[in-house]
């Protein structure tokens, strides 16, 4: 019965149109934009995998893009905190913690453990610019939380690894940044 009560609270919040993404600090958007430009430059000339590809084409394109992005970022000295700037980190951590301590917090916390490599499969320690391990699942980001976090460009996603929040280029599987202890 508790789950239905929780759902009612979430639904009420949504119905009241309370769930809106927070506006991120301008610097966060600017850094994401800079990353997209770097990616575009690094993968220039690489063919997009056509929408009717065979597995070999998909693998070749994916591997080449990931390598090119990793190399380009390494050349610029990419490091933790480049995208999650202090202001963005503070804001995002606040949103996550308020969601997880709020009325739907228990459900959100439970969902964030689903697919989280710390609780399913082989745990790993995320590092900036590493490839997300092929054998690791992707965590759920609770929908009500996702709708409150700053919106990201297409193909860049938030994911949890343990209590850390990462920014992942889902297309190339490159970990772009890490926000440790984002979850309470």
């Amino acid at each position: 019965m508790r789950i239905f009560a929780t759902l009612a609270l979430i639904a009420a919040a949504l119905a009241a149109n309370d769930v809106k993404p927070v506006a991120p600090p301008k610097e966060f958007d600017a850094r994401l934009k800079a990353y997209l430009e770097l990616k575009q430059k690094a993968t220039k000339g690489m063919d997009e995998a056509p929408v009717k590809s065979d597995p070999k084409t998909i693998e070749a394109r994916k591997t080449a893009a990931a390598q090119a992005i990793s190399d380009a970022r390494a050349a610029t000295g990419a490091k933790q905190g480049d995208l999650f700037t202090p202001a963005a980190a503070t804001q995002i951590t606040k949103v996550i913690r308020s969601e997880m301590k709020g009325p739907d917090g228990a459900a959100a916390k439970k969902e964030a453990t689903a697919g989280n490599p710390a609780s399913e499969g082989t745990p790993f320690t995320p590092k900036v610019n590493m490839l997300y391990p092929a054998n690791a699942p992707l965590s759920t980001v609770p929908t009500t939380l996702l709708l409150r976090l700053p919106q990201l460009p297409k193909d860049i996603e938030y994911r949890f690894v343990g209590k850390a929040l990462i920014l992942l280029d889902a297309d190339a599987r490159v970990i772009l940044d890490i926000l440790p202890n984002a979850q309470p």
């Binding site: 979430i10 009717k52 065979d54 969902e111 965590s139 759920t140 980001v141 709708l147 297309d171």
Partner: protein, 280 residues
Amino acid sequence: MRTTLIFAAAAASLWAANPPLAKDSLRFAVIGDTGTGDQYAIQLASRVAEARKTFPFEFAVMLGDNLYGGENAKDYEKKFERPYKALLDAGVKFYASLGNHDEPSQVNYKNFNMNGQRYYSFKPRPGVRFFALDSNYMDQRQLSWLEDELKASGSEWKICFFHHPLYSSGERHGPSVTLRAVLEPLFVKYNVSLVLQGHEHFYERIKPQAGITYIIAGASAKLREGGIAQSEITAKGNATDRSFILMEIDKDELHFQTINQDGKIFDLGTVKRAQELRKP
């Protein structure tokens, strides 16, 4: 009153022996969490191919976790192309959705028919539209797309499929409550009749919720330790068999039968089209 009716058939074997196979009906298969490539996945895939001899379905929908572990070219072959070779050779189309073990690059794989999109819809027959969602990442972009698609669809039958279950009695994962909070109001508003999901490695048909039939069919390769908790929402559950579903849409009714690795039917029934029931 918006109610989807389930006729739990007492005479299961009778229906199995006499599936409707109605003229001009739409027939399809449902498989979920298939991507191990192990002996169990191969055995189940053989059953699906065998079933098509007596129940010639046009296509299959996949409920995510299509490829566990690595996703190199050899993995596609081992975990999908080889087990489902007979059906691929026969021209059966597969429509995939993404699970939490799947890389988004699968959207470009020709045999998954996703056309480069993580969420998409297709209309195999006039009046029937399927919506494949990416439940891994339900952001505002996808929600807006879904609402626009549902609103514009005009199809009498609307069927959604994706990975994470909105209702589940699973002891390990359980329901995706925050996902349900945003999706179910849309399903109700736009008369979705049926929702198919995976993630839990068992079969569970949920008693109609808000007039919608929800089925979890994530046991096409793995079985979940822990299984299904005793729950008042379960209409039929099975955590000990691997399984797949055959479905047939005939006018305002959708008939289904769920089959295990030994070819035995353990659940069957009929879902009435949601919109039809709302007519005076």
